[in-house]
């Protein structure tokens, strides 16, 4: 299948006090439509930097990024982002937050009733229809994250970019949101690039795990292809030897080959 995202010898440098700081070098990756890719690596290696490049929030200093064979020069509605800290606008209700995105993408073609239906459908997908008229400060952290995901999905993006979407949550909430996300992905068939620190999460959700070397000048170290059938059930997988093997491979990379020396 033709890749939907192509990253070709991309490097990223930042201006630093002493010359330039090389964050990323020589990144090459092709992502197929419908694929779920996890980016994993030690803190500070450049995962967010890479995700921001795909989102178009920053421009690469070397190489090119392509989406649908067109160079990525800025953000676009076909690439929705779920931010690490949900980033809901606190002065709008949950439905208004989602509406802001929906209006932008479909406002030209569709009437008010249809737009509202989209908002409600998106919030129903993450089981948040009870919070339509609540403000973000009135709902829990996990709920906010769900609304953030609903906002991204409501745009019907071709690619969903998620930066540690469940990073700030407790283990139980995290597990239920992972299952929810798996369900949503099965329904929508979206392409996903997702940054995570959590090895289990990477194996459970993704088709490929892209493991990055430590920075500075980080690049892709190894890629594990997760060949587990979907839908995936976390309880069944817990006893599956293949699951354990994938997990072990990622741990091996992170904690033997790329062990981070704590300063």
């Amino acid at each position: 299948m033709k890749p939907i995202v192509k990253i070709e010898s991309v490097g990223q440098e930042f201006p630093a006090r002493a010359g330039r700081f090389v964050a990323l070098r020589d990144i090459n990756l092709a992502i197929s439509p419908g694929e779920v890719v996890a980016l994993i690596g030690h803190s500070g290696c450049g995962k967010s930097t890479l995700l921001n490049l795909i989102a178009g929030l920053t421009r690469a200093t070397h190489g090119v990024l392509l989406c649908d064979n067109r160079e990525i020069t800025g953000p676009g509605p076909e690439r929705a982002v779920v931010f690490q800290n949900h980033s809901l606008l606190p002065w709008m209700t949950c439905s208004e937050n989602v509406m802001l995105a929906v209006e932008r993408v479909f406002g030209r073609k569709e009437g008010k009733a249809k737009l509202t239906a989209r908002v409600v459908a998106a919030l129903e997908m993450v089981h948040m229809e009870h919070a339509l008229d609540k403000y973000p400060h009135e709902i829990s952290g996990g709920m906010k994250q769900r609304v953030g995901i609903a906002r991204a999905f409501a745009m019907e993006p071709r690619i969903l970019l998620m930066d540690e979407p469940f990073g700030a949550l407790d283990a139980l909430t995290r597990a239920s949101l992972q299952d929810e996300l798996n369900g949503v992905l099965a329904k929508t068939g979206a392409t996903v690039v997702m940054v995570t620190h959590d090895v289990d999460e990477a194996v459970l959700l993704s088709d490929r795990i892209v493991m990055m070397t430590n920075g500075p000048a980080a690049t892709i170290g190894e890629i594990v292809t997760v060949d587990l059938p979907r839908p995936r059930d976390r309880l069944e997988l817990a006893e599956d030897s293949r699951f354990a093997a994938y997990r072990a491979a990622v741990f091996e990379f992170l904690y033997r080959k790329q062990l981070k020396k704590v300063a």
């Binding site: 989102a55 929030l57 982002v81 931010f83 800290n85 606190p90 802001l100 403000y135 400060h137």
Partner: protein, 320 residues
């Protein structure tokens, strides 16, 4: 003039903070008397004593009474101290009327605050109202100019660097120094006084608005970029609500300064107004009236401040 403001509770930390609050024992925090320039839009948060299960009812009553005493007694003591010192000074110095004497004069004065005997002899009510009117008009124009200017300065770095030296140069100038220019241009005293109010109100408005725009969290701007919002949507849906608390701080500082300045300006220009009234009473040596005016000016200023604090609270999105 930079009121230091922090966006609190933005992001997922909020939940943890709210939970922590729920565990705290009952307590009513009294927000300290707002001082000039110091209050940030979010600082006036009282801890609500809402708690489900707590100590028993009797215990709670005792606790409540103690809290009430804690909030009521110190301010009363402060006022008593002020009256005491005043009375003492009045006893030592015959030209200064004491509290009782002033009270009697005030009773007479406020029996008919809205009389009119020609342009130069009007009730104290009219004087206060016309001062407020000048403040309102001068401030209104300042807001009309200052808020958009603040947005421009905050949004465009070039503008910021262009106007920074100008503002730094003009801001420390007492607005009264601009009064002669006002007289020259407007030819009349009344608009000249309004003009000084305009000058003194505009700086806090520009600077606070600009600072608010600069401090809009990058996250929100990233949301705008990812959604691809148009510039007018960015302004109305993201920048304006995010900057509103800062703007209200600017407005509060402006009105506070304006109320300080109007008294001095009116002393110089004459006409009807509380500042002029003070001067007039001085000329006829009615010292008790001057003391009354001081209290009236203080109370009106306090009321303005409280009104704007309430307004700020209303528009602080977390407390809605």
């Amino acid at each position: 003039m930079s009121a230091v403001i922090a966006f609190k509770n933005v992001g997922s930390m909020q939940v943890a903070e709210v939970d922590a609050m729920a565990i705290l024992p009952i307590q009513t925090t009294v927000s300290p008397a707002p001082t000039f320039m110091e209050i940030a839009p979010f600082s006036a948060q009282e801890v609500s004593p809402a708690l489900g299960r707590g100590p028993g009812r009797g215990e709670r009553l005792v606790h409540g009474a103690r809290e009430l005493a804690k909030t009521v007694i110190p301010p009363l003591l402060g006022i008593a101290l002020l009256l005491g010192i005043w009375a003492l000074v009045a006893v030592k110095n015959n030209s200064i009327p004491g509290p009782m004497q002033t009270w009697d004069a005030a009773a007479k004065l406020f029996a008919d605050p809205f009389y009119r005997n020609g342009p130069n002899d009007q009730g104290i009510g009219w004087n206060v109202l016309s001062s407020l009117q000048r403040v309102g008009i001068g401030f209104g124009f300042a807001a009309l100019v200052g808020i958009p200017a603040g947005f421009m300065l905050g949004r465009f770095n070039f503008m910021n660097r262009m106007f920074e030296p100008v503002i730094s140069l003009l801001r420390p100038v007492s607005p009264l120094a601009w009064l002669p220019i006002g007289l020259l241009v407007f030819k009349r005293a009344d608009p000249a006084a309004t003009w000084t109010i305009f000058i003194c109100s505009i700086w806090p408005m520009i600077l606070n608005t600009a600072q608010g725009v600069q401090r809009v969290p990058q996250d929100y701007l990233n949301v705008a970029r990812v959604l691809g919002l148009s510039e007018d949507k960015v302004i109305t849906r993201i920048l304006f609500p995010a900057v509103l608390p800062y703007m209200l701080t600017g407005i509060r500082l402006s009105i506070g300064t304006a109320w300080l300045v109007i008294v001095a300006a009116e002393m110089l220009t004459g006409g009807v107004g509380i500042g002029f009234w003070v001067w007039d009473e001085w000329n006829s040596l009615k010292v008790e009236h001057i003391i009354i005016a001081i209290f009236v000016i203080g109370m009106v200023g306090f009321a303005l401040e409280q009104m704007l604090l309430l307004l700020a609270k209303r528009f602080t999105y977390e407390s809605r």
